[in-house]
């Protein structure tokens, strides 16, 4: 005789620990793969899990086995045309007619592919950027919520017990439970009175009625004053705190000197800024402006991929940004953030104009303007002009970035302001 056991509710995720062990063990490989994935993603598209693929030879579990060579006998099914003594060419891949077909979805058999969850993926993203733990926590946190009342429920913890509601419930239950016996009691009492009125107060019928009355009274008395299912608790639900909208301007120099590596650093920078903003604002628009000698608003794909030749006029981008703000993002309704990335090359005569634009028309409208100079050899005219801007306005931050780790200090500025 067999025993049937329902185990469906017990012990899910028994492999969670083993999964963590796996991720820890292959940290280096996963990190590399995650970095590649980041380069392929959109700026605003950071917070989701990802398929990660690492070479399976890195994580093989070895055992002693035979190598090719020697003499091997093979037995195979499905003979079609062979007779004893036939000689056949050795098929590619060696082993007697076997040969793995490629996988249908084009992933190589040589890769081990698996999914990282959103948290895990973010973790790897942060690792590269050398963020302090506190910041990581703030970034990875879910949006803030506020508790709001939402009626009453029959289960809850004692501290949220609602006395008035519970009592109301108890009254109703007592009335309902006692209604039947009470009717019977009234009838019995009336019958007894009638008997007494007829002078039959000592008859057996009257005795029986008196007993019944006693029984009914004790039944009514036995209805509990308050019971566990009378209890009502105040219900509270999480409501996201109301937050406003923001627009983020990404300004990128695409002149000939900005190569792919520099653009990748710039991209990380934009991604991180976007991530910061998503923690504070519910709705974020992203505007991509690229420029060389002229500026242009573009879609994201074009933003990172295109590369132009020729010189740089940074003010063109700032002008375009100003125009877009005036046209589409009135600063009364929008929190405006901007990040500008460049390698520092600019036309000598243009830099003072950039400064004027910033100080006079852009900074008064924006919350924050961050400028990063990527892998520049020497600070150039733009940098010197911007240093003057920085002295004049607390809303302006600038930083030279050589490697990915340098990105964070820019954000520390921004972050300090938020915390305060």
């Amino acid at each position: 005789m067999s025993q049937l056991v329902d185990r469906r509710l017990s012990g899910k995720n028994r492999s969670a620990v083993n999964r963590q062990r796996f991720l820890r063990r292959f940290k280096a490989q996963i990190r590399k793969a995650a970095a590649e994935v980041v380069s392929g993603r959109k700026v605003a598209d950071l917070e989701r899990g990802e398929k990660i693929s690492i070479p399976s030879k890195d994580l093989s579990e070895p055992s002693f086995h035979h190598g090719p060579g020697g003499r091997r006998n093979i037995v195979l099914p499905g003979n079609r045309e062979f007779v004893t003594g036939d000689k056949v060419d050795r098929p590619d891949g060696g082993s007697g007619g076997q040969g793995e077909g490629g996988s249908p979805d084009g992933e190589g058999m040589d890769d081990f592919v698996f999914e990282l969850s959103r948290e895990e993926f973010m973790d790897y993203f942060f690792q590269d950027l050398a963020l302090p733990d506190l910041v990581k926590k703030q970034l990875a946190a879910v949006p803030e919520v506020k508790k709001a009342r939402a009626g009453f429920v029959s289960q809850g913890n004692p501290s949220s017990l609602h006395v008035v509601r519970s009592m109301k419930q108890a009254i109703g239950r007592r009335m309902a439970m006692a209604a039947g016996p009470r009717d019977a009691l009234r009838e019995a009492e009336e019958a007894l009175e009638a008997l007494v009125a007829r002078g039959l107060g000592a008859s057996p019928e009257a005795e029986a009625l008196r007993e019944e009355i006693e029984a009914l009274k004790s039944r009514i008395a036995a209805v509990p004053f308050i019971d566990t299912w009378d209890l009502r608790y105040a219900n509270r639900v999480d409501q996201p705190t109301p937050s406003s909208q923001a627009v983020m301007f990404c300004l990128l120099d695409v002149s000939g000197s900005m190569d792919q590596d520099r653009k990748n650093i710039a991209k990380r920078f934009f991604m991180l800024l976007h991530l910061f903003l998503t923690k504070s604002y519910e709705r974020i628009d992203v505007v991509f402006i690229r420029h060389h000698t002229v500026a242009k608003e573009v879609e994201e794909e074009e933003f990172f991929s295109s590369r132009e030749s020729g010189g740089t006029v940074a003010s063109s981008a700032l002008e375009l940004m100003r125009d877009i703000i005036l046209e589409r993002y009135p600063s009364a309704n929008w929190n405006i953030y901007a990040a500008q990335a460049s390698d520092g090359d600019n036309w000598e005569d243009d830099s003072p104009r950039c400064r004027d634009l910033l100080v006079q028309s852009i900074l008064p409208l924006t919350q924050y303007f961050a400028y990063v100079e990527i892998e520049a050899k020497e600070p150039q005219s733009l940098w010197h002009e911007y240093e003057r801007v920085k002295a004049a306005s607390p809303r302006f931050a600038m930083q030279r970035i050589l490697t990915l780790e340098d990105i964070y200090p820019v954000f520390r500025e921004l972050f300090r302001k938020k915390v305060a």
Binding site: S63, R71, V75, P77, N79, E100
Partner: protein, 508 residues
């Protein structure tokens, strides 16, 4: 394949099916199990008590990744298994297997919640009666595994390893387990019978063993400092006196630098390897037996009118999927399907018993015309894959499967077909297929040959070559694993069948 539908003609009025729809309930599972048990008893299947557990697909993936062990210690390789199973399941590339069944007492079989009633019945017949009776009856399982003690032992192992992780750090334990897992296939006794396992005894003996082992090891190495070179002249007897096949056992008992807890972990891995060893030797028989019985039991119930036609259609569909054998040139071919071969062989044996041909009488004089239930039971109890194929693979089956043999010799330019399904070839095909299931041929034969006790303490392994086949490219890495356990240098030499030592000596 002989399809048994003789009973299918029974009038519909007689049918009183157990259920109509495809939904299952616990009451229905119970009724089906009852009926299947009744029929199984009718055929004389001897089983341990069953514990049938209903689980979700997620839990099934969990069970998968711990190689079906209900309790397992933590290791990244299980995590890797989990991730890859999870991914292919999510993408729908693979349906999860019908079932996982654990050789324990009671015998635990998992049913997936998502399955239809038909599938549940199939799994019950397959796992709870097919595999279960095989575990209980086959001589390898009877001698080498102890269904009573395994669950307790696994609990002991997990707790012990968790404790070691706390005391010595996860990394240290992980490294050790990596090396032990690499040597798992060389951690079995092929001929010696292991002692019974039980939780209480294990715990009591573990402390004792720790102290004792360490003293033994110290003893072996103690003579060292006093002799200093003097021992070199008079060549001491070789240690070990005989080559040892069980590498993990040898390391557990003799490795000079392992700490007691490390020896215990080596022992745990070795015990688990030993527990799974019979399964690796009886894959064809075990799956064939279980498949044969789910087919026979379900058909019997159908003939009794207890199952609907719809049930049978679904049943036959999954049954034929399981026993499909793609031909060698198909892109789905990945070796001989053990379900297909095993099922076909048992089915063929039943045919030989019931309706023998003249050819069968010549090849299987004892089998032809005998009581099939008894003959199959005998085969199940007393064979493993290698001997089972050598004994029972019939010419008819070789013809049906169109089996042929080839030889791939690196001294020749071309492959040669050495035998096909004809009179001249039957015996040779059969013999070669049987050899294919000999684990001794499939895996390299590596033994502990010598320890340089008075010198640098290095360990020498010997690979006894079979058909001149060399070791694979993983050998240097493997030697590093052995060296990690042994603590000193490890080298390996290959010895060909003539006894000459090959020049390719690797060191780790």
């Amino acid at each position: 394949m002989a399809v048994e539908m003789e009973g299918a003609a029974s009038p519909a009025a007689k049918r009183q099916p157990l259920s109509e729809g495809s939904e299952w309930t616990f009451e229905l599972l119970d009724r089906y199990d009852h009926e299947i048990a009744r029929v199984a008893a009718h055929y004389g299947l001897d089983t341990d008590p069953n514990q049938i557990e209903v689980i979700t697909s997620e839990q099934m993936i969990d069970a998968y990744s711990s190689v079906g062990m209900p309790v397992g210690y933590h290791h990244w390789s299980y995590g890797k298994q989990f991730l890859s199973t999870h991914k292919s399941y999510k993408r729908g590339q693979m349906g999860l297997a019908y079932e996982i069944v654990i050789n324990s007492n009671p015998c635990i079989a998992y049913l997936m919640e998502e399955n239809t009633m038909t599938m549940q019945a199939l799994v019950i017949a397959h796992a709870a009666y097919g595999h279960n009776s095989f575990f209980k009856g086959n001589y390898l399982f009877r001698t080498w595994t102890d269904a009573e003690g395994i669950l307790d032992y696994l609990v002991f192992a997990r707790n012990f390893i968790a404790e070691c992780e706390q005391r010595h750090g996860e990394e240290a334990v992980e490294e050790l387990l990596d090396s032990c897992h690499a040597l798992m296939n060389l951690g079995v006794d092929r001929y010696k019978r292991p002692a019974k396992l039980s939780m209480a005894k294990e715990q009591a003996r573990q402390a004792e063993r720790e102290a004792y082992l360490q003293s033994q090891v110290n003893d072996l190495w103690r003579t060292l400092p006093t002799k200093q070179g003097a021992g070199r002249q008079q060549r001491a007897p070789r240690f070990p006196a005989e080559p040892q096949e069980n590498l993990l056992y040898f390391i557990e008992k003799n490795a000079p630098r392992l700490e007691p807890w490390q020896r215990e972990i080596v022992r745990i891995v070795r015990k688990i390897a030993q527990y799974f060893y019979p399964q690796r030797q009886t894959q064809v028989m075990n799956e064939g037996w279980a498949t044969f019985w789910h087919y026979t039991l379900i058909n019997h119930l159908y003939e009794e009118g207890k199952l609907t036609d719809g049930f049978m259609m679904e049943f036959l569909k999954s049954h034929t999927n399981v026993i499909y054998q793609p031909p060698f040139h198909s892109r789905f071919y990945s070796g001989i399907n053990p379900y297909a071969l095993g099922f076909a062989m048992f089915q063929d044996m039943r045919r030989i018993c019931e309706h023998p041909t003249e050819e069968d009488r010549r090849w299987f004089p004892e089998l032809a015309g005998s009581d099939w239930v008894k003959s199959l039971d005998f085969a199940m109890r007393n064979f493993k894959d290698e001997s089972f194929v050598a004994q029972y693979l019939s010419p008819k089956l070789i013809r049906d499967l169109k089996l042929f043999a080839m030889v791939d010799d690196d001294r020749e330019d071309k492959l040669e077909v050495t035998a096909i399904h004809d009179d001249a070839g039957y015996r040779r095909v059969r013999q070669l297929l049987a050899e294919h299931y000999n684990l001794g041929n499939r895996e390299p034969n590596i033994q502990v040959y010598e320890v340089d006790v008075f010198g640098d303490r290095s360990l020498t392994l010997r690979h006894y070559m079979h058909d001149r086949r060399p070791l694979g490219e993983s050998t240097p890495e493997m030697l590093r694993h052995v060296a990690r356990l042994w603590g000193y240098a490890v080298r390996i030499e290959s010895v060909d069948e003539g006894g000459a030592i090959q020049p390719d000596v690797a060191e780790g």
